[in-house]
């Protein structure tokens, strides 16, 4: 496939890996932010190619994983209501809440529909005027514009039976909180290419300046990631800390302005809880007060539904890169994709799930 096969070329990948190994004078600790990048690294065994030159730690960039437990519980509460049709991306149905998951609620008779696009949820609200259609809007900056457009579309259509259960998180505040932590050992970041395609690079430039840490905006194919790692290693070896863009075929400095405008019109930022990590200042998007009628948290009064996360799970340390999934005593035994104890084992993009799915043969359980 054009624009894909060349980024999976074994010869180029091996040459890049060899250069990274040759240039590294010490073992650099790098973090990829996005779960999609983690998935590629594991799926293609890129860590095997790098040997000891680089330690890759995996960031908190899986939106399914970091959706807080209480929001899952709120979605479950809504899906159990006789008057609600809950619409969601498929991945969310497997995510365990405090007591059950949406797949089980569906089996109990809950009206839950899986869609690939929020537009489908708006269309559903049009065709089911007697149902309250709630879209479970999760994600990072990448899905926010489509969710904003869904609200604007519903407003234009005058729909009163459509709302969003919003669980939106933002990447730069999470990196800031990680860099500010005294336990941080990450020396360079691969920023998420899809997020930067939407929001641009400005916020990452601020982080580079503030913390003197190199950041390279990276793509999602093996050659993209190896190139980004190479760029980071060169910066570190030369003692530089700059923002660079590896993913030039998609990311522009300013990002996608119309998408940013749609998000700014509908959403505002505030503190947000991340599953496995806790609250991070200014790290979430919420519907603005003028769109309160599209906000399921307000129209259904869900504030009383709260939840505690299991204590055994070390997901905070995994999501912040302090520990590897395999450092966890429950990994692969008490915690599997079937019965996840915590966030990173939940979605295929989660770091623990990626290790379990692709790397179990190299680990002694």
């Amino acid at each position: 496939m054009k624009y894909l096969d060349e980024y999976r070329d074994a010869r180029i990948a091996r040459a890049l890996a060899a250069e990274i190994r040759r240039r590294s004078s010490r073992r650099w600790v790098l973090m990829e932010i996005c779960g999609g990048q983690t998935h590629t690294l594991m799926r293609y065994g890129i860590d095997e190619l790098l040997g000891d030159s680089v330690e890759l730690v995996h960031g908190p960039g899986c939106p399914v994983c970091v959706t807080p437990l209480e929001l899952i519980d709120r979605a479950i509460h809504l899906a159990r209501r006789a008057d609600v049709t809950l619409v969601s991306y498929g991945d969310m149905l497997r995510v365990p809440g405090s007591e059950t998951d949406l797949f089980h609620v569906k089996a109990e008779g809950g009206d839950i529909r899986i869609v690939y696009s929020p537009t489908d949820a708006v269309n559903l609200a049009r065709t089911l005027p007697n149902r309250k259609v709630v879209f479970f809007a999760i994600g990072f900056e990448t899905t926010a514009p489509a969710h904003a457009m869904a609200v604007l579309q519903a407003e234009r259509l005058g729909l009163t039976n459509f709302s969003l259960l919003v669980s939106h998180v933002l990447v730069p505040p999470a990196i800031r909180s990680l860099l500010a932590s005294p336990k941080n050992r990450v020396q360079g970041f691969i920023a998420p290419g899809h997020v930067c395609t939407v929001v641009g690079c400005r916020d990452y430039e601020d982080l580079v300046r503030e913390f003197r840490v190199p950041i390279v905006v990276g793509g999602f194919e093996p050659v993209d990631l190896l190139e980004a790692i190479r760029m980071l290693v060169i910066q570190l070896e030369e003692g530089r800390a700059e923002l660079e863009n590896q993913y030039v075929r998609s990311v522009q400095y300013e990002g996608n302005r119309p998408a940013q405008a749609a998000v700014a019109r509908v959403f505002e930022s505030a503190d947000r809880k991340w599953r496995g990590i806790g609250s991070i200042p200014e790290s979430g998007l919420y519907l603005k007060p003028e769109y309160a009628s599209f906000d399921a948290e307000r129209t259904f009064d869900l504030a009383d539904i709260c939840a505690q996360e299991p204590a055994e799970c070390i997901s905070a340390e995994v999501l912040l890169g302090h520990k590897k999934p395999t450092d966890c005593t429950a990994f692969g035994t008490r915690c599997t994709p079937d019965k996840p104890l915590g966030a990173p084992m939940v979605s295929s993009e989660g770091a623990c799930a990626a290790y379990y799915q692709y790397k179990r043969h190299l680990v002694t359980l």
């Binding site: 999976r8 799926r43 065994g45 991945d91 089996a107």
Partner: protein
């Protein structure tokens, strides 16, 4: 298909057991109750781990016997010295019509293939219909005509049937069950438990066509593709393969759960490991493209006209050539080998020369593909 799933707990009979053996009553165990409040999820029908749980927790404890316990795609029984294969399968595919077939042709091919994987020449089929009130008669006629065409094309008559109608809302158009009886080829004993280190793994052609053809028709997922379901009867291909060599250990059709689930089941049943070469696995360009777009791995996508063969190494090229000389096997390929290392695990050597696991499918977000 009576899906063989995780067969860890299954004894490895290398020869079929006749149906007149007395049932061992001391082996009877009480069904393990599922936790209170548990319900059937869509994932229980995925052919993956949840389906295996149902077998182990519900069906085998209650119904187990030496024939059923083997958990092959077909039961093999002896009657007056003649070995017969019996299999049954229900079809609930949505939509009813898709590019390359429909629920009717699929119901014929699926059951023929389950017989063929046991080295059986299909002899007879039954067909039972569960119809939803309100189904247009014209739809039923089209489907029945398609079944006739598929059965006649394969040379296997449908000799008995049944019809039930349920209230509107109790079925999605129609469901079909087919049962098949076939005669097992003399001297051939195939089983998922017979893979041995050193054996070679073959597939008969491009993977993932059926699953992608179905997904392309799904509500909310419409995308343009020329991919056609590979639904086809494989008994003639199998006959050609078995004519060429007797060194076949096991045949399976990788339907629900795709190649990955089938190979994991064989690895578990035989207590061996497997190593695949990513670059050797045949996948069409359009299927790869659709999988990229939908975030799917072609190794997990269903097939309805492909087989996996585990073959003793010295016969591998003979087997490959036999497959490639049949129209349904012209894109056959050797994709890997059986290992003594990492038992019960399937490992893939990636494009980059690194390794990763190819696991059983967990959960199923896009059910009802067959």
């Amino acid at each position: 298909m009576p899906r063989t799933t995780n067969t860890n707990a299954i004894s490895s009979h290398s020869k079929p057991v006749s149906n007149d053996e007395p049932k061992d009553l001391t082996a009877f165990s009480c069904p393990v109750p599922l936790p209170a409040g548990e319900r059937i999820l869509l994932g229980h029908g995925s052919g993956g781990k949840l389906s295996a749980d149902l077998l182990q927790q519900v069906f085998l404890p209650a119904l187990g016997n030496p024939v059923l316990d083997r958990l092959e795609d077909q039961a093999t029984v002896s009657l007056n010295g003649v070995r017969l294969a019996v299999t049954t399968d229900s079809f609930v595919v949505k939509p009813l019509f898709f590019r390359g077939g429909d629920i009717g042709s699929l119901a014929v091919h699926g059951t023929i293939n389950d017989l063929a994987m046991g080295a059986a020449q299909p002899l007879w089929l039954s067909a039972a219909f569960i119809l939803e009130e309100g189904l247009p008669l014209e739809t039923l006629q089209r489907i029945v005509a398609s079944m006739h065409q598929a059965a006649a094309g394969a040379g296997v008559p449908i000799i008995t049937g049944d019809t039930k109608v349920v209230e509107k809302g109790s079925a999605d158009g129609l469901f079909i069950n087919t049962t098949g009886i076939g005669r097992v080829r003399d001297g051939v004993y195939l089983s998922s438990s017979q893979a041995r280190p050193g054996d070679v793994i073959l597939v008969s052609g491009f993977l993932g066509d059926h699953g992608i053809a179905i997904l392309a028709e799904r509500e909310g997922l419409q995308f343009e593709t020329q991919v056609t379901s590979d639904s086809a009867p494989l008994h003639a291909l199998v006959a050609q393969l078995l004519d060429a060599t007797q060194e076949i250990r096991c045949l399976r059709d990788p339907t629900r759960g795709g190649l990955s689930s089938t190979l994991n089941e064989i690895a578990a049943a035989s207590g061996v490991g497997m190593e695949l070469e990513e670059t050797a696995i045949p996948v069409r360009e359009d299927v790869r493209g659709a999988c990229e777009m939908l975030g799917l791995d072609p190794l997990y996508v269903a097939n309805e006209g492909k087989l996996v063969a585990i073959v003793a190494a010295p016969a591998a090229h003979q087997a490959l050539s036999a497959l490639q000389h049949h129209p349904l096997g012209q894109h056959a390929a050797i994709i890997g080998r059986v290992t003594a290392d990492h038992p019960c695990m399937v490992v893939l050597r990636t494009l980059l020369g690194t390794t990763r696991i190819v696991d059983m499918l967990v959960g199923d977000q896009l059910p009802r593909i067959c």
